[in-house]
């Protein structure tokens, strides 16, 4: 299977990283019959607890063994205790008590990741970047899409995800704080490209493939102007070689929708929880835009 590995990154928090990962993943699995793996490497474990009931999640990841924590703990201690099949969660459990979305798989995170995050830096540079790729690279081939949900920073785990990924997706809130962060991010990714080059196949270069705009509101000028400034900035970054010509802002923009927030409490993607909501419709269209972009359909 030809898989596409995408790292969802932004060192600014609250930009909709997890919402984008969970809802695009679910829509690709449900409506496009894609086999999708979500890998949660954020110690906050947000995509894990979005897709799993907290009691089930806690029981599953107790001690961190059946979570992505174990991958990093193994790397720090030179052990090999991580077991992909044991850690994997297949599908999401609905109110019936039975699973739905069998094509959507999740590798959950555990809060234990917090305790070792600063120690991961102790590993040699090239070893740090390779941790995730070495542990999971072989399994990625079984999926159409692998979506890496990264923490809101650019520390080692995020860099490792960027190293493993074919491309990065940047969730973005249309305001200046996001815009300034995006520009720094583009510079950082370029620096990583040079640093990773000796360790990566030539065809795999860290890059920002797409930007996803969320928390959008259509009323007034504010958001239109902010998105225009993002477009201007991307064009500028492309002219100076910091971004590739393929970097695109995916459409539609995800509008603010209370049903999406509510769906986190139900531990379901919005397409299952409130399929009639504007949030579900936006994510459905965005998933289509996502396919069009990453599979060069249009």
């Amino acid at each position: 299977m030809s898989s596409k590995v995408l790292a969802f990154i932004n060192f600014k928090g609250g930009v909709g990283k997890t919402a984008t990962v969970v809802n695009i993943g679910a829509t690709l699995a449900k409506l496009h019959e894609k086999k999708v793996l979500i890998v949660d490497i954020d110690p906050q474990s947000n995509s894990s607890v979005w897709l799993m009931r907290p009691d089930r999640w806690r029981e599953h990841v107790t001690g961190g063994r059946k979570s992505t924590f174990q991958i990093y703990d193994d790397a720090l201690h030179g052990k090999n205790r991580f077991n992909f099949e044991e850690a994997l969660i297949k599908g999401v459990v609905t109110w019936t008590g039975f699973t739905d979305l069998p094509r959507l798989h999740l590798l959950p995170a555990a809060v234990e990741l917090l305790r070792i995050e600063d120690r991961i830096h102790e590993l040699r540079d090239s070893a740090v970047y390779r941790v995730l790729d070495a542990a999971l690279g072989a399994y990625f081939k079984e999926y159409d899409y692998v979506l890496l949900d990264c923490p809101p920073n650019l520390y080692s785990t995020t860099r490792g995800a960027i190293f493993s990924a074919d491309s990065c997706v940047v969730p973005y809130v249309p305001d200046y704080l996001s815009l300034s962060g995006f520009q720094v991010l583009a510079e950082e990714i370029l620096a990583m490209r040079e640093k990773f080059a000796p360790h990566l196949p030539a065809r795999r270069k860290p890059n920002i493939g797409a930007v996803v705009v969320s928390h959008y509101r259509q009323s007034g000028n504010v958001y239109r102007l902010a998105v225009n400034e993002l477009e201007l900035s991307i064009a500028q970054l492309q002219r100076t070689g910091l971004l590739s010509r393929q970097t695109a802002i995916l459409e539609p923009y995800i509008r603010h929708c209370v049903r999406v927030a509510e769906s986190t409490n139900e531990h379901l993607p919005v397409i299952l929880y409130a399929p009639g909501s504007i949030g579900a419709q936006d994510y459905c269209d965005l998933a289509q835009g996502f396919l069009n972009h990453f599979e060069n359909k249009k």
């Binding site: 477009e231 399929p275 009639g276 994510y283 289509q288």
Partner: protein, 206 residues
């Protein structure tokens, strides 16, 4: 619980039942067995239908027709065009709900579920497809940034050369909202303000 676990449970119960079948007696066991059998029969019928519709591609077709994407993009005209394209037949229904039902039935008769799914997926993809930033838009965005860099007098001269229509196009492309009543002077002030802001906010190579 997932369905593999349910299957294992049924297996386990089946094994135990067959081991002890010859020794089971009593009304409560009989009643409970009857209830289980009724539910099992219903479940098996559902499962058969599910497997058949999945195999034929009908499940995905129906999922698509009920999806949030359908709610936004599906019209009777689209179903009409699809049915004509795929089967050469005419859609008779006049309301969307009935049309969906008729579409599925006709497609089922023709055995074209996979083709119908592809038709709908393409149609939904087409309806959200947006043109990449055209040359026109790119040049209007560049002009906008250029205007933001001008001194006040130079800006005024540039604006004077433009018609109201040209200025509206420039503003519209760069996310500035205005009404039919917005004067050229007011629009120019808005363009000046937001173009200057854009220059400040977008990344400048050092």
């Amino acid at each position: 619980m997932n369905y593999a676990e349910l299957a294992a449970t049924l297996h386990h119960v089946g094994d135990r039942l067959s081991k002890h079948a010859g020794k089971i007696e009593g009304e409560s066991m009989g009643q409970s067995a009857r209830v289980l059998l009724t539910h099992l029969s219903k479940f098996e019928a559902l499962l058969d239908g599910y497997i058949a519709s999945r195999k034929s591609g009908e499940l995905l077709l129906e999922t698509l027709l009920r999806s949030p994407a359908a709610k936004r993009h599906l019209t009777i005209d689209l179903l009409r065009a699809g049915l004509r394209h795929l089967t050469g037949k005419r859609l008779r229904s006049t309301d969307l709900r009935a049309a969906k039902r008729e579409f599925v039935e006709r497609i089922h008769e023709a055995g074209s579920q996979d083709e119908a799914t592809e038709f709908l997926q393409d149609a939904f993809a087409e309806s959200i497809h947006v043109d990449s930033v055209g040359k026109d838009k790119a040049s209007l965005q560049r002009e906008f940034v250029g205007l933001g860099r001008l001194a006040e007098e130079e800006f005024a001269q540039e604006i004077q050369r433009k018609s109201l229509g040209e200025l509206r196009r420039l503003a519209e492309t760069n996310g500035i909202r205005f009404t039919d009543k917005t004067t050229k002077q007011r629009l120019a002030a808005l363009v000046r303000r937001y173009a200057q802001r854009a220059v400040l906010n977008i990344w400048a190579p050092t």
